[in-house]
Symmetry: D2
Subunit: 136 residues, 4 copies
């Protein structure tokens, strides 16, 4: 199973008054890691994938995050990202954030490639088998 | 069961290129709503609660978010926040984000009041019964 | 001269490890205050103003911020926002962030209502006199 | 004059509804670039510099940003950071954000190394000549 590893240097501004990383910043890292996963399989950004005309992004439908150890300013972390499961219209990604051998947090998210329909509603699109093949 | 309701005007900068709210901003709203819940029970900010000396905040240990409908720029939302469960050292909060009668997203998070111990490690503190009583 | 006043409760997550507000969050407040200024003159969000068809927002061309006193978690602030100058295609906004009678920071920014041209380039639009009149 | 160059991959979540980078994210990049500047001169994070005991960070006193061209999702940018001037208690940094040979934006900021005094007030500290020498 392909795994993308994304380095993260924890910045001063990623941390709150207790000098530990705040959840919204972990959320930003997850977006970055999700995009990089596809780019490392040779795909362009989400809104320029040929097999997915009209797609504007891959928003999250569900997210679970479990924090195990706090991370702090100037930590060097690595985010390990996989697609655990491909379904018809959604895919399940997992992220494991490590500081060396220590697990900092783990996350699981369900995303869908979405496009606007003719009434302006955002709709999940079927995932093309060719795209799935490039990622497996 | 006490419920705190927190109004949210979705800002331009809360939305990404698809003009829907990005997850990290929902994470910020959850932090804001969690604090307001306690303030509406007459408590000061987390690091100034008398019964919790040394506490620096109430970081999240686990978070689950489920997105049901997208929210967009200029939407008026309301976030309904409750404590569903008090345990010895953690409490479980739920947030329901509504646009009128429409559920936008729902979240569940486990938080602990934390202080640094003598070795600089962040430790969950026992929740004082008097604090719990003020919230119920 | 019309002035819009926007209350701000400084959140835990607005502050960094030194427990003072971080610049990017002041930047978010400026966006919020800029939008509210127009809404308090009876205008809808930037991308729905009748006189400005095709406009997608009012991005900043120049920003200056001067910090006078630090603001911290749980401070109650007020942001005082004005349009100091209307030019053909841009307007100059000022924001004064106050904690009671104490000036926390002041900012000055030049913004333009922008639309994409036929080649996909973002272009500043002339400001309709009727819109300017509603704000003065 | 030493210049630090910091690569930036513009993320989906850095952009707003017009698909251009929002100011608060440029503010985050400036913080990151400011820290990296010192780290590339062999210094640790701001709160661990030997010559600066008690310092909690290097907050901004003044910031000016001028946007020249919009940047968008998936752009590769480079931020060129210098210290233009060292004064007794403050230093002036400039950042030039480039996409290839195109200037995207330029910024100028005044920062001070700050520590809390005995009354809990944040105070700018004199800049040690040895630290200045390592950066020049």
């Amino acid at each position: 199973m392909f795994e993308s590893v994304c380095p993260i240097e924890v910045q001063y501004g990623d941390c709150g008054p207790a000098n530990i990383v705040l959840l919204p910043n972990v959320g930003r890292w997850m977006d970055t890691a999700a995009e990089q996963y596809f780019q490392r399989r040779g795909l362009p950004q989400w809104n320029r994938i040929d097999e997915l005309p009209g797609v504007v992004g891959a928003p999250q439908l569900e997210v679970q995050i479990r924090f195990v150890e706090p991370a702090t300013h100037a930590d060097t972390l690595h985010m390990h990202t996989r697609v655990e499961e491909w379904r018809h219209k959604v895919f399940v990604m997992t992220h494991r954030v490590m500081r060396g051998a220590t697990l900092i947090c783990e996350a699981r998210e369900t995303r869908a490639f979405c496009a606007f329909d003719s009434e302006g509603r955002l709709r999940a699109q079927a995932i093309p088998p060719s795209l799935r093949l490039r990622c497996e």
